[in-house]
Amino acid sequence: MKKAAIILASLAVVAYGGFRVWSILFPGDEAEIREMLGELSTAATFRVSSKPLTQMGKAAELTGFFTESIEIQIKGPEGVIRRIMGRPALQQAAMSAQTMGGGFSIQFKDIIVMLGEQKGVASCRMTAVAKGAGEPTPWVQILEFDVQEHESGWKVNKIRVVEAVERIQ
């Protein structure tokens, strides 16, 4: 009885280990999208820099996560909606953001990935927690990303804000 339990437990451990190794070697679309979003949040986090080359490098790294036709619609802490259309506008916004304030950090939490019926498209909903240096409280918003698979990997095509609660006018 004891021997059987040990064998069963060992088999369970081996099966779990095999599954983990398989997941790492052959990640599915969802795992790849989650990894891309993690890298995107790291790229969007920056410290203030006065060196133009550093700013350009960081901005270029960030825009690499987006398609050419990226559409971003973000609601800022003051409730003002801001729209960014296309990679050049995003790069410009990323560069100017680095010259203002003392830095910026963003994290994506509780990510829900919904793979599309069509291969190579998906949408993700997440809680974005962003904070500018010196700001007492973080800015929290639900964001929805439309992502597309390209040769170089998954890229973000659209970002829009989803209201956390339904406002009564």
Binding site: A164, V165, Q169
Partner: protein
Amino acid sequence: MIGRNPKNTAIRAVSLVIVCFVVFRFVALPVRVRGVSMEPTYRNGAVNLINRLSFARTRPKRGDVVGVTFTGESVQLLKRIIALPGERFAIRNGVVQIDGEPLAEPYTEVNQHWTTRTERELGPFEYVVIGDNRTMDMNLHTWGVVDRSRIVGKVLF
């Protein structure tokens, strides 16, 4: 906790870890308040626990301070329930109106700039949640209608 018998000590330590895991994962969810929207009742930085079982047998009541999820439980809104399913809700010159009657709210101050243009009748699973800090600009304050499924539980203290 630490005894002479290492085996018993190990069993006690493991049991304690399991109990803590179960309690803080499935019963009392630890939260830290960030922001000023629930002041003066809950200050920025305060630590609290949300009882996930508080609405297992009962429905949320008016006045309950509850955790409301965004897309998951890592980040939550801490708000007070003001209006219940089936009620008609509006704010007139800072005073909450439930079914056309003013609601007494001793936990907050009246801010006459808070006014809704319309009255909203809530659905069978809808609640209106608002923070206690009405001195804030109405447009900077996250408040409104949430579905029952997004209410995690009631704060413990």
